[in-house]
Amino acid sequence: MAAPDAAVLEDRPARVPFWRGPTFRRLIHHRSFVIGAILVSIVLVTALIAPWLDLPDPNRLAIRFRFRPPSGEFLLGTDNLGRSMLSRVIWGGQLSLAIGLGVVLLNAVFGVTLGAAAGYFGKLDGPLMRFADALMAFPSVLLAIGIAAALGPSAMTAVIALAVVYIPRTARIVRASVLVVRELEFVQAARASGADDWRILRQHIMPNCMAPLIVQLSFVFAYAVLSEAVLSFLGLGAPPTTPSWGILIAEGRSYIREAAWLTIVPGVAIAITVFGLNLLGDGLRDVLDPRLRVEQG
């Protein structure tokens, strides 16, 4: 279904650095990509520099100051225990994004490994894809809750649970690309010249499967941020001692009438991030792999 992108194929022989190549030029002229990249950068950078922002400790209790609405003193208000929502939403972003990136990383590693193995080695294809089908047969939230409940609450739990949900989907996309690339002439030529499987996979097949993978991973990031919130909302995932956006919403929802900002602020933070990631993904798709249709979960 997904063909290797012509631009990427053309890039290789010339060995032009990526930031001077045509792909990059097209990306920075793609409006969605640029807006998305800016939004995501703002969110990422804010989360990264949180320790140097001179914010109040996000976990410091100050019950006297509880339920303060947003004001000059407390920019985004305070929560039921008087903690600064500004601090909490920024630090919470750190955790939410870290979880999202963790899921992306696991997807990249296992999705590629399993997808390439299934696509390249015919014998592995059946068993691996049946297993992927079995995992994908579960409604994703239910599978994630099951795994999260089994592993106990921690940020790592959320990462693993969500990775298990999305890896089969990523693996299928990689596999589909590998199936196509495997049959291309230059791969056949390499095989005829006696190159071993590992070399063919590494040098010829994988570079040509990157485009759909990158696009898929940008969407996985977006879904992971959304799904982390769902897990936290249901009381699974990271423990509330280390707040993520999902936990902030879960904690704030009991007070939605009296202190709506506790729910609105983290919700908007999630929306901005996912919006940015989606724009970014759209841009990547348009440029790298216009015919790709990403499976979602």
Binding site: G235, S254, Y255
Partner: protein, 525 residues
């Protein structure tokens, strides 16, 4: 028969049942529904899975106590009160209890209640009942005639009536033909003022007036889960709405007539709303924590005492309840028969200097102190959060471990991996004086003493609570046990959490209680 009741009161529950009877007599006017009819929609917080009240220790009582009745129950102040029993006559040594069953009571299927049903119900409870250990001293149960039920105990137990009248997991009376039902599969047929209509699991339960109900004419008003009860509304629809925000919203817009459990902040907001009437049960749950005596460093009594000294209960309760609480230096609530503040000088010390001094003497070297809590019950989580700050302030290396409730409870029943566990005692109080400290006594020690052997001094006092012949003796024993529990820091009461319930202004006669009561409640036009 009346003399038997009086005899019982005087001899056994001196000052306890008499008070209840006096209260009943004082309310001269017998309750009659000012208006009948209507469907009352009531929103519950908990999701109720089944109505098998023998098995379910949880919130199913909110529904079932309108459907089922028991032999003996509790009045508003937690004192034993006869319900389906017309009388009970204990033997002189308190080892044989003879119940006389009320006449004219019928089940919702039309069948008349006999002692055979009572016997079958007790036997089912012995088999599948959650709290079946309260029947542990029973050696024989028999129904010699249709209206007599006799329980013989292994040894004298003056507190036996207290134990079986507990509505924690009440021994509800069911028809004998249903007594073979496996756990969780009980057909919902009782003798109460309401009968079961239908349910959608986790969503909604409907009950309707049972026309064959014969109110207990010994009383004029409803008392606890018994007394003179009438179903004024035609039907009650219990809707399960676990989301506090949605539940409150439903009440505000008038979709439901009442809610169980209105959050503190919503109470403040709705206080001036003329359409809503808020009522509060001031003493609902005791927020409690207990240390793990098998895990270092809380195996060291000095460390535990240091922790106890460091605590500021006002801060903890403020956070746990959003500001609606009462301090309570006791394992009982004020007004209850066994209430005492013995040992209460160790409660809420807020003494950081003493904490540091005890810590220094204990040889504490900065070992981790794991505070095991959960997030389903946010009051427990918030209590743990504030407590960890207070412990850190005196140099204790406190660390929060937040699991989901089932996992946390499971871990708390093991000896390692945690130092302090948070819970809430609600119905524990319904179990009576001895029962409320049962969690700290052999063999069911929640605080994990080494070899599962609780403290000797405490156990001596505890055994006296169970066996003391008079209420005064038992009270004194309770005070000794409580003082010891405080001194050894076997458990830490933080404070009392109230429960607020609210109804629309056109709902009359609704009074909050430990579980929802729909009798004697009517809807004004």
């Amino acid at each position: 028969m009346r003399h038997v009741v009086r005899h019982l009161s005087a001899a056994l529950l001196a000052g306890v049942s008499l008070a209840a009877l006096a209260q009943a007599a004082a309310a001269q006017q017998r309750f009659e529904c000012p208006r009948r009819g209507g469907d009352l929609i009531f929103a519950l917080e908990a999701r109720i899975a089944t109505l098998d009240q023998h098995v379910n220790p949880a919130s199913s009582r909110n529904v079932t106590m309108n459907i089922f009745e028991t032999l003996v129950t509790r009045d508003e102040n937690m004192n034993p009160l006869l319900d389906l029993a017309e009388s009970v006559t204990p033997s002189a040594d308190n080892a044989v209890y003879t119940f006389r069953i009320r006449e004219g009571v019928t089940f919702h299927n039309g069948k008349a209640l006999t002692s055979a049903d009572v016997l079958a119900s007790f036997q089912r409870y012995q088999r599948v009942g959650f709290d079946r250990s309260i029947l542990e001293p029973v050696t024989r149960m028999e129904a010699p005639d249709a209206r007599t039920f006799v329980i013989t105990l292994r040894e004298p137990r003056p507190t036996f009536l207290e134990a079986i009248s507990s509505f924690t997991v009440p021994i509800v009376i069911i028809p004998a033909e249903n007594a073979d039902a496996p756990a969780q599969q009980l057909p919902i047929v009782g003798t109460g003022p309401f009968q079961f209509v239908d349910r959608v699991a986790d969503t909604q339960i409907r009950i309707r007036r049972y026309d064959g109900y014969r109110p207990d004419t010994r009383h004029q008003q409803m008392l606890g889960f018994a007394g003179y009860r009438q179903a004024c509304v035609d039907t009650v629809t219990f809707r399960m709405m676990p989301e506090a925000g949605a539940r409150t919203a439903a009440l505000e817009v008038g979709e439901v007539h009442g809610v169980e459990d209105l959050p503190t902040v919503a109470q403040r907001r709705l206080a001036g709303n003329p359409n809503i009437r808020i009522s509060r049960l001031d003493h609902y749950a005791l927020v409690v924590g207990y240390p793990n005596l098998s895990q270092a460093p809380t195996d060291n009594v000095l460390v535990r005492q240091a922790m106890q000294a460091a605590l500021n209960m006002e801060e903890i309760m403020e956070a746990a309840t959003d500001g609606a609480f009462r301090l309570n230096p006791s394992f009982q609530f004020p007004g209850q028969a066994y209430y005492t503040d013995a040992g209460g000088n160790l409660y809420n010390q807020r003494n950081q200097a003493r904490a540091r001094e005890l810590l220094a003497r204990s040889g504490y070297r900065g070992e981790r102190v794991v505070l095991l809590t959960n997030r389903e019950y946010s009051y427990m989580y918030n209590a743990a959060l504030v407590m960890s700050e207070q412990l850190k302030a005196v140099g204790i290396n406190a660390e929060l471990l937040v699991l989901d409730w089932p996992a946390a409870l499971q871990l708390s029943t093991t000896n390692a991996g945690w130092n302090f566990f948070y819970t809430g005692w609600t119905s524990v109080f319904a179990q009576g004086g001895a029962q409320s400290l049962r969690n700290l006594a052999n063999p069911a020690n929640v605080h994990r003493p080494p070899n599962n052997q609780s403290d000797d001094v405490f156990m001596a006092a505890f055994n006296d609570i169970t066996r003391g012949a008079t209420l005064d003796e038992r009270r004194a024993a309770f005070a000794r046990a409580q003082a010891r529990a405080f001194d050894q820091v076997m458990a830490v009461p933080f404070g009392v959490m109230p429960k607020a319930q609210a109804v629309r202004a056109n709902v009359e006669g609704f009074r909050p209680y430990y579980a929802t009561r729909m009798s004697n409640v009517w809807i004004r036009n």
